[in-house]
Amino acid sequence: MSLTPDYQLQRNPFGKLIFTGSDGEAKEAVPVRAFPIGAPDEGIALVDPHGHELAWVERLSELPAPLRELIESELASREFMPAIERIVDVSSFATPSTWTVATNRGETKLILKGEEDIRRLPGPALLIADNNGIQYLIRDRYGLDTHSRKILDRFL
């Protein structure tokens, strides 16, 4: 089903999303996922630069297509959580350790400062924060290949 919201969204030449509410006031807006890991497509808030909520989207799929695409493209350009598909190599099993990983966004190196930077998410997922604070996601640690799993096991 598709609800027609009482607001409008546009992208201005400065690359920002502009929110026009029912009162006709135009503001810059940024989409934010409320549960970026648990339920990425549910609960998306549009907030103004001061962090005040302008609108709440229960489910992305409820929005009319143009609006949804606009929000999705903005989210895509803001979100950076490479998903690790393979662990190629690690410099050592003692931290800090430099990992060479293949992600869905290409191959890169990350520095793991300590085992405590590996966060266990519900289910088989893991979230790894590197020394610059970039979050790497492992969706299913049992689904990795044997080599990667063996390496990962040493840190868990």
Partner: protein
């Protein structure tokens, strides 16, 4: 008592006395040749930034080059250069979100270009922007503003202090893994006891030698006494007495030496353990707030407690045992070979097999034990989480959930242990089996040799006696595998702490400040926690004796600012100066002596009230303590307690109310008589009546001191000379209450919001602003 200085918002306006010659670092070869094709003859490269992401946020290398007339960019994957001519009206900005930085080029109409990079390049991006802005200025006016005059770290732009060659921020980041030879680093702790250790070693050697005498004597006993007797000769009593007393003597000697050895080693072991624990704890205390924020209490407790114990046992017992075992085996081998080389060869046959076994099991066990350690820390973590929060657990009736959590952690522990034990348990019996097989081989080969009259029965007996000991030693040697791995794992975790350099480093060339006036200056202060920049470009000067109130929503950076001023953290950008001296060049402990801190949740240590008041000045006299308590309006309620100033407080001690605790902590701050006073929500956890009493105490405290106060209730900041309004990490307004009200800006809104809530406020809550969100 104060002069009203306005906030300095202007960026580093210090006149450049000496111009630093600007030359960009050379561009990497792969880009250089290509860039040159894009440039005119007299165009020069001014700055560049190698980016590591493309606009779709994929890991791709790219470069942005600033020349004297253009901004050139290319990514590895596209062949074309993007060329943008420099012209007035262009603006280059950077922002970051979730670990990704964006560099954007705007003109009046819109965005002209966008580049992305991971945050490690953020500082370099900042440099590019700075150079870009100055170049535009140069093109417009013809004059080039010189770069900031003070020396900056080339890597991260932290201003270097006088006498500092190496940047404290960059050098602290130790990102190489510790070497596998961690155990040898323990020598540092064993060194003071090297003579005792040597004595212990020599004693073990002597003990071993003494025990080797006995099997040797079985040989003549057999050959010269028993066999001749069986062949019809009488027993030579003298000879028997001689051999038997030899056996007894060797046994007694081994007993005495063994006792001395064990005693000395036990003494040394305890001392090494003590040193290791104390050193680790002392180092831990010196680490910055940041370190404690990232670690869990249970884990740190386990490291200092059980890990050190394991290590000192290793150094003093297992390692020495291993060394003597090796010697013992060498000595036995020599004796065996000297008696009969062939039989010796057969005896030693299973040795390589055992060595191989030890080697294969080693790898498996090491990872296993590391996991056991981590899991154990997990178990203690559950306890450390739950016990302090027991009120919440009980209030929400979640005991069974917490029990389940503990059970799950224990279960996990059990599983990991089971896995390790499966390998480990196989290990011992296998060694025993090999021992038996070895004995079997010697019996078989020995009997065959006796039948050929190559050796006597005595020799075989001696061999069998030796080999019993020999394999026992191998067995105990095999244990070294596990203890070494355990100790190495423990040592790594200890050195993790010891190697951690405090992120608020002690200055190399300290400037001493015996007395301060209390003038605080914040110069373009920025602080970044992980990828989140918490405060940005704050400039503020606080005059001696002035009281400044920090106001803002929660999360606006008030507490961060206080933490930075206290130097619990070091600034990421800019500098904080006290009396004109960068606080990073003053020894930490000396600097904090000038600061009195009163927190929202006063922490009382276990001890008497007097001890708690004198916490910052342990040698304070009773008169001083009472005077401080009087000034803090704590004297009277203390006297009402059954034991007065000697009443016990803290954990399991006398129950004190929030207001009472707070007044004790105020007395604590008063006693050290600091020039700078920081009140972090000092009154927000108490009701309004108590607040009034605390306020009276605070008025005494504030007098004559530079004071920085954070308060949710704006009414408590009436006394402040100036209010600094923070919003999302930046200073947005500065002025007195009246000025700010007249301005009708941020402060006005905050004040109005609170005024509306005053009716509903029941006096014990301080979360009015939260509801405004």
């Amino acid at each position: 008592m104060t002069s009203r200085t306005s906030t300095r918002i202007a960026a580093s306006s210090h006149p450049a006395t000496a111009e630093i010659k600007e030359s960009p670092l050379p561009l990497p070869e792969m880009w250089k040749s290509q860039v040159e094709t894009q440039m005119d003859d007299n165009e020069k490269i001014l700055a560049w930034l190698e980016i590591d992401l493309d606009t779709q946020l994929r890991f791709t290398k790219g470069v942005v080059v600033l020349t004297s007339r253009h901004l050139l960019a290319r990514s590895e994957e596209s062949a074309d250069w993007q060329s943008l001519e420099l012209r007035p009206g262009l603006k280059l900005t950077r922002r970051d979100h979730a670990g990704v930085g964006s560099l954007e080029l705007f003109d009046q109409e819109g965005r002209r270009a966008l580049w992305r990079y991971t945050l490690q390049l953020d500082v370099a991006a900042g440099r590019l922007i700075d150079r870009f802005t100055r170049q535009l200025e140069f093109l417009a006016t013809g004059a080039l503003t010189p770069p900031p005059a003070h020396a900056l770290c080339p890597k991260c732009e932290t201003p270097l202090l006088a006498g500092q060659d190496e940047c404290p921020v960059c050098s602290k980041e130790e990102l190489t893994p510790p070497s596998t030879w961690t155990l040898f680093r323990l020598w540092r702790f064993a060194r003071p006891y090297r003579w005792q250790l040597l004595a212990g070693f020599l004693l073990s050697l002597a003990t071993t030698a003494a025990t080797l005498v006995a099997p040797y004597l079985t040989m003549p006993l057999m050959d010269k006494v028993l066999i001749p007797y069986q062949n019809g000769k009488p027993i030579d009593t003298g000879l028997v007495t001689l051999y038997l007393s030899g056996l007894l003597g060797a046994a007694l000697l081994a007993w005495v030496l063994g006792w001395a050895r064990t005693y000395i080693l036990a003494l040394v072991s305890e001392r090494i353990g003590r040193d290791l624990r104390t050193t680790t704890y002392e180092h831990l205390l010196k680490l910055s707030q940041e370190y404690f924020g990232g670690k869990r209490t249970g884990d740190l407790m386990a490291r200092i407690g059980s890990e050190t114990d394991r290590i000192n046992l290793f150094i003093s017992l297992h390692f020495l045992d291993f060394a003597t075992d090796v010697l013992m085996i060498t000595m036995t081998t020599l004796i065996l070979v000297s008696i009969n080389p062939w039989l010796a060869l057969v005896t030693l046959l299973p040795l390589p097999v055992i060595a191989f076994l030890i080697h294969t099991v080693r790898e498996k066990l090491r990872t296993g034990f590391e996991r056991v350690d981590r899991i154990w820390a997990e178990v203690t973590n559950v306890l450390a989480d739950t016990i302090p929060g027991i009120r919440v657990v009980k209030a929400f009736a979640q005991e069974s959930r917490e029990a389940a959590r503990f059970r799950a952690a224990n279960q996990h522990n059990l599983e990991v242990n089971d896995k390790v034990n499966r390998v480990w348990s196989l290990f011992g019996p296998t060694v025993t089996l090999l021992t038996e097989i070895g004995l079997l081989i010697i019996w078989a080969f020995g009997i065959w040799q006796i039948s050929r009259n190559d050796i006597s029965v005595g020799v075989l007996t001696a061999f069998l006696a030796y080999i019993g000991r020999f394999y026992t030693r191998l067995d105990s040697m095999s244990r070294i595998v596990s203890v070494t791995q355990k100790a190495a794992a423990g040592a790594k975790r200890i050195f993790d702490i010891l190697d951690h350099v405090s992120s608020v480093p002690e200055p190399a060339n300290p400037v001493h400040l015996p007395a301060v006036t209390g003038r605080i200056e914040l110069r373009n202060v920025g602080f970044r926690y992980g990828t989140r920049s918490v405060t940005r470009d704050i400039s503020l000067t606080i005059e001696p004796g002035e009281m400044v109130g920090l106001v803002g929503h929660s999360g606006s950076g008030k507490s961060t600012m206080v933490n930075l001023i206290c130097r619990f953290y070091d600034v990421s950008e800019g500098a904080i100066l006290i009396d004109g001296v960068d606080i990073r060049s003053v020894p930490v402990a000396e600097y904090r002596k000038h600061i009195g801190l009163v927190l929202q949740e006063p922490f009382l240590f276990f001890g008497t009230i007097a001890e708690n008041i004198a916490y910052g000045k342990p040698d304070a006299t009773r008169e001083e303590i009472v005077a401080a308590a009087r000034a803090a309006h704590a004297h009277e309620f203390i006297l009402r307690l059954p034991h007065g100033y000697d009443s016990l407080v803290g954990e399991r001690g006398q129950a004190l109310s929030g207001g009472e605790r707070q007044r004790i902590s105020i007395a604590r701050a008063l006693l050290i008589d600091p020039k700078i006073l920081i009140l972090d929500e000092a009154t927000s956890s108490v009701d309004t009546t108590t607040e009034k009493e605390i306020q009276k105490a605070l008025d005494n405290l504030v007098r004559g001191r530079t004071t920085i106060a954070i308060a949710h209730r704006l009414s408590t900041l009436r006394e402040a000379n100036r209010l600094v309004v923070l919003d999302r990490g930046s200073v947005v307004e500065v002025g007195s209450h009246d000025e700010l009200m007249a301005r009708e800006g941020h402060y006005y809104e905050l004040y109005q919001a609170q005024a509306r809530n005053v009716d509903t406020e029941n006096g014990s809550e301080g979360n009015e602003e939260g509801e405004e969100e």
